[in-house]
Amino acid sequence: MLEIRGLTKRYGALLAIDRINFCLSRGEVLGYLGPNGSGKSTTVNMVVGLLQPSSGAILLDGKSQSDDPVAYKQRVGYVPEEPYLYTHLTAPEYLTLVGRLRGIASAPLEKRSSELLRLFQLHDSRYSTMAAFSKGMRQRVLLAAALLHNPDLLVLDEPFSGLDVNASLLFRSLITMLAAEGRMILFSSHRFDMVEKVCSRAIILSKGRVVAQHDVSPARRGDAESLEDLFVRVTDQPDFTPVARDILSVITH
């Protein structure tokens, strides 16, 4: 289980994350929602170990991230929000780099990366550098790299961005199956529809604080408030109709 306890991040005087708490159980897909600037990416960066928290604790199966960050990171797979990867490498080269950095032996690494490339429909482009890849193709490479070491915790930051319909359907099925096998999946997104389809529970973040937790399992959907309505209510979203009217006015006058 992933436990986040009193996690806080300060940048000088700015309080980006303020004592947030939540848990992610094995086999669960947890949606992580919030408007821009709410602290979503900061939390994700701390969970994957790219940022040090100012205070609080991140525990994976009871073991603190700060006690043994390397062992912790060995169990985490991460797909970043933007497809940041080394585009001068080919997809197999990138997977080999990531696999070696994660200490996977050569033979299983070669076999696994080759299979993943084939299954993610990247095999035909294996000799091309990723500079020529579309955003969706790069996203598929990143997902393959995140799965390469069979992680217990998968952190996905907007994983559907840039994907075509087929790849989106594949990703959805894959996330469901990974969860069914007992993996923990933290799914950060702006898309309510995806969170509702993929996640069993969602957390809403606003101004660095958890403002709502919502059960989005199919059994609860009928009688519960929709995720979008809840989001608008708890994050104090203004009515954007006047803004839209103003935009229209600016471009027509």
């Binding site: 790219l50 390397v70 940041y84 080394y86 780099l97 950095l101 994660r102 000799y127």
Partner: protein, 566 residues
Amino acid sequence: MATGWRDRPAAHLTRHFFDALFDLGFLSREGADAFIRLLLGIIAVIFSFGLLLTRIYMGKYAALKGAADPLPYLSALAADTTLAFGLPMWIAAFITVLISHSLVPDETDFRVLMPLPVTRAFIYGTKLLALAIFCGMFIGASLIAVTPLVGLISSSRHAPTLPPVALAAYWIVGTMSCAFSVLAVIAINGLLTVVVPRSRVHGVTASTRSVLLVALMLAVPFVFALPANADRIAAHSRSMYVLPPAWFLGVARLMFGGADAYTSQLAFIGLAALAAAAVISVSSYVVLYRRFDRVMLRSLHVARRLPRLRLSPSTNPWRTAIADFTHATLRRSALHQGVLLGMSACGAALALNRLVDPQVIDWLRRLGAARFDVVIAVMGAPWLLMFAAGLATRTAIALPIEQRANWIFRMTESEATRVAQLRAVVRLMRQITVGVPLLLMAPLEWALFGPRAVFALAANAACALLWVEVLLQGWRKIPFTCSYMPGKQTAAQSTVVGIGLLVLGVSLSGAIAAGSARAPLFGAVAIALLGAVAYAFARARVALWTYAPLEFDDRLPSAFDTLLLQ
């Protein structure tokens, strides 16, 4: 209301393209500011160099101008005029090669600008204007820098033209000669872009850029050797037909007086070359203009890549990961390859400059016992190669690529694997700084000392290993993953330190290597001492790596560290 030029769309887009030429793509805001300071420093160094050159020539011309016989003066004037054309031509070609990746609008320009209501001609026109202004700035600076020299050498009673005419001729023909340099680079790039299959265009143009950079660096000794051609010009040698600066000497004589059949022939070659470069440049530009997609969009379909040859397979996955990543980047990134090859070629040019000495060439023809000055000339060359190769490798791997992708290295960093990862850097530095120069110099040193060359080569290797350790002190970076701040020292500071190390290294390393070949016992002691110092440096380096984390953010030295005292 009439709007000024500055407010017009063409001016905005030209300014955008012009600013983009200073944006190397990997620098932060602070880094970009530091880069502009560095460029200003380089321009200042060019001006200082022009004045220094004038000062050096004052002595030579004081005697020539006073002589009763005009022939020595006229002969020197012709040869030195080729130098005055050659220097700005070299600078113009160098600058054009540096920005050769931006000669036509790129994929971002295509995607951002084409949906806007502007014509393709407008985009190409403003791009060309920005390029012309950028190149013009450096051409103007180099012509100004050399003008005092031209004024000095052309003001004599024996001169074929009056000084104002000579200066006007220099500026007009100098601009033509620089235009030739710029157009020649554009023609080579344009022709390759048009002819090569689309899937290979980016790779081929990147390699061409590196090859041109190396060629230009290797040409430096020949540019500075131009004044030595006085006798050849006087003898109407045909060898001058292949020297572009000589062509423009002919053009200047043809246009402003003093031409004979020989200089007219040179002028004809120069004008024909200028016309050919212009025609090929314009034609390839027109083709690229019509087939905009050719350079804009990358192709997914490429031929199978050959696996990399491994000379010494490593079983350590972390070291192999970094080594493969480094080799792939150096093979495919035009910037990193250009820096590595360009800077290394500087050293090769300096070494070549020593080796094209008439004494050395004479010895090479007969390959017998060498005179002392030949030994000195040859044994100085290894340090020049090693110094430049070490500096080039360190600079190339310090420049970032796709910096935001470095999260994978941040995420997988661990104390247990850090030393293994950074050992890939040491191996690369040693291969390029020690291995390559020794391979290049081994035949010459063998010819010089016979079997005892082994001692000289061992001494060279010891010096190079020490140099590698000096360069790696404080290094805590995975290649290409840390941000970069240029200009940590001023251009003048770097020049002084660089020249100091170069001169000191040439003397010391040359003396130790030559001494080792002559007296093996001395060699053994010197090698042991150098090895001990290198070993001490290496231990300090590894000790640092075991506890200090990897570095991903470079800082200017002005940024101070707090002591974190409570």
